[in-house]
Symmetry: C2
Subunit: 311 residues, 2 copies
């Protein structure tokens, strides 16, 4: 076992995860803390407290942090690097703190294929991680999907991030599940009925893949009323509809003769599995990458590429 | 002035509006009361109390009621008449109450063009009213739009309602305005900025008319951040996006070589005006029909067609 050489931190809006890592990115220890929205500006204190024991054992280690810690609600505002860009440019744009001991990974910006401005912060590190973990991603043109509250769809070509766009899939699902007429009994727990309803949501969406979701959502209610699935499985049906709509139309927008037929899905396994079901029906293979592993690999990749850290 | 001959009632989920009408449908007097959701089963009491003065003056008049009063949360459950259907079939399916003195207008059901079950209750009466108010609707094939919490798009051919579908436009707008990351300052009041942002929302949506709204919604945030419109106008931008997405894609779904190039917009004038803006950009003419006038005309049409009431 090699000695710890740096601290990797995934500091999002709601959660902080700190890892004591060796130079290969293996985590020896972990601490959890409050997200940027709950930090109330006490970033330096929180970081020092959570890492005190590690500092006691190993001295003050360098650290790489990503996520909302670099946003307007964060420790310091790190820039957005415009796409297309490549890993070395992202690393070069890191923002130093504490006399260079801490580095904050920048976000990415782009003009999306819908001619709109778009931004990501945190997902760029997962993409860097996927590029490190999957050698095939560094050659050719690939579609990446990072499902979540705000799902990011990105195109990577020869290891460069070309562009991306944001889908409101996760936030929209939560709003409709919790507040709309579509789901009236979200508490029901019936894994089998839920799985069937999810799959039906995906399949029904595929029958009219170009129909607007605005014109399909009410089916989540009307098909309950007509007995096509039980009311307590409505949230699962809604999830299937939204994910299939997201997947089908993102693949239509992003696919070209030069993109591979494998979609890289990066995120929480439970969620990437749902996206994988929709990709399968759209005739795409998938490669599922655990989001936690990807962020750790990305932070390690940044650390290794920082000046003076080359192994 | 002719004498009052019947009571027309629009009894929706949230509101009850009762009108003392003559046989031409002119309202001589009006009473407002609680919607079906607030009636707590006291429908007969509420009706008797609100109409007591009219009964005192004119004796017990016949009444025609439409809306959620005929639903599972209503006074009595009136059926859904399957489409395609025509006015006389709708009238024949009215449900009688109080020894035939009261008639409840049935809803409509259909298998939508997205192969899904769909229903309406209340809007069928507005459609009947529009057919009575606009003679041209009784010949040829027309697209009707009834904007609201659940916008209904219907196709009418030679006076028959062929089919319809429901768009969640209004409910989705309210959810995203009140609960999402997209709108953070809904209280701002600046009519000029709001009008510009609404129009920009419509125009931006038209740049990629086939793009899924799921992939466009985040623009409501990212374009604020990049300064394309002020944060306090975000709700107006969102409204423009959603309405243009609804209109463009409904017209694509419903238009054929045989449909007229005029869309009949039936509803609250403030809302039909917004839909009219989106229709204009989609190169459609509109005929705006006041929703209140339409429901009164529809209830009158039903009353006149009931057995024994022919003028």
């Amino acid at each position: 076992m090699t000695a710890p050489t740096f601290i990797a931190g995934d500091w999002g809006t709601s959660n902080l995860r700190l890892f004591l890592c060796d130079s290969r990115g293996a985590a020896h220890d972990q601490r959890n803390g409050p997200g940027a929205a709950q930090a109330h500006g006490r970033f330096a204190d929180i970081f020092a407290t959570l890492t005190a024991q590690w500092t006691g054992s190993h001295g003050p280690l360098p650290a790489v942090l990503c996520g909302m810690v670099g946003s307007t609600i964060g420790w310091i505002q790190a820039p957005y690097v415009p796409c297309p860009t490549e890993p070395q440019e992202i690393v070069a744009a890191c923002t130093a703190l504490e006399a260079g001991r801490l580095q904050i990974v920048p976000g990415l910006s782009c003009r999306s294929r819908f001619n709109a401005p778009d931004v990501m912060r945190g997902e760029e590190t997962q993409i860097l991680g996927a590029l490190g973990l999957h050698e095939q991603l560094r050659q050719g043109r690939w579609i990446l999907c990072l499902p979540g509250t705000h799902t990011k769809w990105a195109v990577v070509e020869n290891g460069r991030v070309c562009d991306f766009f944001t889908a409101l899939t996760g936030e929209l699902f939560a709003l409709l599940r919790d507040h709309s007429i579509l789901v009236r009994n979200p508490q029901g727990v019936d894994p089998e009925a839920d799985a069937r309803a999810f799959q039906k949501g995906v399949t029904d969406q595929n029958e009219f893949p170009e129909a607007q979701i605005l014109h399909k959502l009410f089916e989540c209610r009307s098909r309950q009323l007509s007995g096509e699935f039980p009311a307590h499985a409505a949230a699962s049906y809604l999830s299937g509809m939204l994910i299939a709509n997201d997947v089908n139309n993102a693949l239509r927008a992003l696919s070209s003769s030069s993109t591979g037929r494998t979609v890289f899905l990066i995120g929480a396994p439970q969620l990437t599995q749902r996206y994988a079901s929709a990709c399968a029906l759209a005739q795409y293979d998938v490669c599922q990458v655990d989001g936690g592993e990807a962020v750790l690999a990305g932070l390690t990749e940044v650390f290794r590429r920082l000046p003076g850290n080359n192994p």
